[in-house]
């Protein structure tokens, strides 16, 4: 039988602290459900050869390494325009890594929930949004549908910050549940439109004439 381990600070009883004092608490690491790899896409490399533009920054499988990484990267709001940050499952020995590309066999049949924010409107709050999205991924906040979440891509562009939460398939029950959970993690005081676009559709549009827009398969609204 598989088990779901819910680790919550709020459940700690009043006596819990006494036990931990006997341990060197600073040395306890918290294992994640799967490993993850964080990538940086360099805009200059992307123009030359997109397929090789994503560079590994770190593969990790503990909460502590996740934060150690997070504290030592340039915030998304200050990242050079044209860059992407991506976080996808795998990279350590526990599972095959899922590469941040449509072509990866784990992504090919899926799609992505896409959310865009205007740079002028969102400003540095985009860093909080990105952090929330990273946390719902590594913290496994998607319940039963978590296994269909492959990763998250954050793109810093001239006028927009864009997020994509990539899924393993485009099944409605999976994708809508994942979308609803993402919606909860987004800021309460902003009007947000979320669109799910399959990678196949995205690929079709990328090969079509300029001006052709991707048709979203599902749409969700916040506020």
């Amino acid at each position: 039988m598989a088990s779901e381990v819910v680790v919550g600070e709020k459940e700690m009883g009043p006596g819990a602290a006494d036990v931990t004092t006997e341990l060197d608490e600073s040395q306890i690491t918290h294992p994640l459900a799967t490993s993850w790899t964080f990538y940086y896409l360099d805009p200059d490399e992307a123009r030359k050869d997109w397929s090789r533009a994503n560079r590994d920054v770190l593969s990790f499988d503990t909460v502590e390494d996740f934060w150690a990484l997070y504290h030592h990267i340039t915030p998304l709001s200050q990242l050079r325009k044209g860059s992407d940050y991506s976080l996808f499952r795998g990279g350590k020995a526990d599972m095959d890594r899922i590469k941040p590309a449509w072509e990866d066999k784990q992504n090919r049949l899926g799609g992505a929930w896409k959310i865009a924010f205007e740079v002028r409107q969102v400003g540095p709050r985009v860093d909080d949004i990105f952090r929330e999205l990273l946390m719902i991924c590594v913290g496994e906040h998607f319940g039963e549908t978590g296994e269909y979440v492959n990763g998250v891509v954050a793109s810093a562009r001239a006028k927009q910050f864009r997020f994509g939460i990539w899924t393993k398939d485009e099944d409605e029950s999976h994708c809508v549940a994942i979308g609803e959970r993402i919606k909860e993690a987004l800021p309460a005081n902003m009007k947000i439109q979320m669109e799910f676009v399959s990678h196949q559709e995205q690929e079709r549009v990328s090969q079509a004439a300029r001006g052709v827009e991707a048709r979203p398969k599902f749409t969700l609204f916040k506020n």
Partner: protein
Amino acid sequence: MGSVQTDRRFNEIREIPVRRIMITDPSQIPRDLASTPNGTMYCTTPGGTRIVYDRSLLLKLSCSPMTKTPPSNMKFIPGVTNGIAASPPRESPALSKSKSPSKPEAEDPQFEMDI
């Protein structure tokens, strides 16, 4: 169990039987990454074990001393990674409040790239 998965844990479409274990203290988390509380092994559990960390604990752990230095195997990429710890994220309950001190953004980057 009909089939046993060997290398990939996420490729079979069926309900995973779930048993919830509530962790009340960090000492209940095994140090060994191959095992999970109650001794479940990743490698022997079809569907695997999902470990869930709620938001408040994640934010609390973000202040751990172990997060103050970059992971030893982190790649150094100029302009992207740095060796100085940023201030830990605020413990604000929601995203509603926006931080005021921020540099004005450069609105005209050299180029625009769309994917």
